[in-house]
Every structure is written in C-alpha cells, then in structure tokens.
C-alpha cells in the first residue's frame, strides 16, 4: 500500500480543500470502493446519489445557483451518456460543473488517447471539442491539480473534468 501510486485520501482531501461539501455521484467501478464509500461515511460530505449522470449535471447546477460548490463523480460512460446536459447546461449555460470521471479499463501509465479501450480513448478529444479543460490524475502528486481546477471552474463559471486514470486505494 505504501508504494501504491494513488490514494483515495489524496483525492478526497483535495476535494475538501476546494470547499466541496456536496458530492453528487453514481457509482463508478474505478472510484466506488475506496473513494465514494469513504465519502458516504464522511460527515464532511453530503453525498447525493443520482439514478443517472445527467441528473447529476443539473443537481450540481442547482447547487451552484444556490451558492454551493459540488462535484459530480461518475464513470466515463456516464459522461458519454450526459453529453447533451453537459453541452446545454455546463457549456452553453456556463454552469461550473466539476466532474470527477473514472476511466474504467485504462491501462496504468498509458495516456487516455493511447488506450486500447475505445470509450476511454475518445474522452479527451470529446472534452477538447467542447472546450472543457481536463486533468489526468494517476498519482498522489497529480491530485494537487484538483483544487486549482475546481477553483478555476468556479471563477470562470465553466465545467472542468478530472480524469481518474487508475483505481485509488
């Protein structure tokens, strides 16, 4: 465990540091076991479990309109399923939807665009076309990108994606 490159604690503490209390989530195989389950039992977080990821885009937006910060945790498949909401609400509506996205099936230390997994390979190009910044997190040191990325999303009122490249433990 001491040598394992990415810990749930590093991600979780960066999310807290960014002033996030509300975590809107649908279980993602990459992050469920150690990150989301930990959040469910952490009183610093209020987890809103949604039935579909596009709901989560809207819950985060309503929270923003009410003056609250949140993140949306989901698998990359959920991001693909929510493209229209991310387009209409996040991009065109300029809501700072902060997405934490598990790249299920991505090979360790392989760039997402080089993955053999088709769904993983297309995520960054899709985000690029939509003008959404993305940050790959594969090691604890990468987790330090999360707080500034969230701050920037709220400062510019625009979505951002944090891509979790391996299972955090």
């Amino acid at each position: 465990m001491a040598d394992y490159p990415l810990t749930a604690a590093a991600i979780s503490s960066e999310i807290k540091r960014a002033g996030i209390h509300f975590v809107v989530a649908l279980p993602d195989r990459v992050t469920s076991q150690h990150l989301l389950k930990g959040m469910l039992s952490d009183s610093d977080f209020h987890v809103v479990q949604v039935c579909k990821e596009d709901e989560g885009v809207s819950v985060c937006s309503g929270l923003y309109a009410a003056g609250k910060r949140s993140v949306l945790m989901m698998q990359y498949t959920g991001l693909l399923d929510s493209i229209n909401s991310i387009r209409g609400i996040g991009v065109e509506g300029r809501f700072p939807v902060c997405m934490v996205v598990g790249l299920l099936g991505k090979e360790p230390d392989v760039a997402p665009t080089k993955s053999k997994k088709y769904g993983v390979k297309i995520i960054e190009p899709i985000l690029d076309v939509m003008g959404i910044e993305h940050h790959l997190v594969e090691r604890d040191a990468d987790a330090k990108k999360i707080g500034p990325a969230i701050d920037k999303a709220f400062a510019e009122s625009f979505p951002v994606a944090v891509l979790i490249g391996r299972e955090p433990r």
Partner: protein, 188 residues
Amino acid sequence: MMKRDEMLKAFARQRKDEIVVAVYMAAQEITHIAPNDLNYTFTGAMGQGSSHALGLALGRPDRRVIVFDGDGSLLMNLGSLVTIANQAPKNLVHCLCENGTYETNGAVPIPRAGQIRFTDLAKTAGYRNTYELADIAEWERELPRILKEDGPIFVDLKVEPGEAYPENFPRLYSHEHREKFRRALAAS
C-alpha cells in the same frame, strides 16, 4: 382540466418568496405572468427541471422550491423521482403540468398519454404526499397547504394550453438572468 396560464396566475396570487423552477411552456409563461428574480428557467436540457430544483432545495433548505415540470420532461428523467425521494427535501414541491403532449415540440402525444398515474409513480418513489388536481378552484383551495406542508410533495396538475404568450428561448437560458437569480437568492 385547467388552463395552464390560469393555473400559474392562481399560483402567482399566493406566491410569497418561493423559488420557482419552470420548464418549456410553463417557463415561457411564468416570465410574463409572474416576473420575479427568483424564477429559475436555466434548465438547459430537456427533462432536467426536477434535478435543478433538487440542487436548489438542498443548497437552500431555508427556502421553498416549486418546480413546474412537464410530463414529457418527467418521462425523460423518471429516475429523478427516486433521487428526490431519497434526499427527501422538506422544501421541495414538484408540480407536474400534465398536458399529455410534447407541446413545445409540435404537440405530439406522449407515450400512454392520459393513462399514466404520475402520482402513483411519485408515491412509489417515496414522495411524502401527492395531489392530483384538475380544477382551478381546487388548486387555489389546496395551494396554501401545499406551500406549507413538508415535502417532497408531488402535484399532478391536469392542464391544457391557455392564452398564447410570446416565446423567448434566449431569455430562458440567459446568463444575465441566471446571475440576477443568484444575486437575488444570495441577498435573501
């Protein structure tokens, strides 16, 4: 059956400081019938009104949130009934403008128009209370209770188009009005 604009006018007469989320035809109409900085029409994608309302209700538990959803819209986001019931916000009233059609998109009927008991779906999902109202006098009579009782409450309103109001989609999704909403809510 109620005329939708008459239903909204009756609501406007009893409205105090509630946040109102409205979608499609109800959103177009509420901006004319009851202009208010706390009207939230920035839902951005079909089916999403109830989920925006949940975010607002969780973010401001001190404020009552009323959403005027559509039946076609709700069918696109039925899971939101379960999500809302699971969070159980006491301050959320989910009103469904049931007209049986995709009115904004050419008035094509919804699947199983008139045969779905939406209140049963809401009850099964776990809403605290439900109403089914087809008469304007009944709506006016029940409103004071609906606006006070603990939610989440689901109100199925049987409506049909009333007077026509000008459509203005850019106004519904305007960043300027969204920011005005945020400022008004933060100040209240």
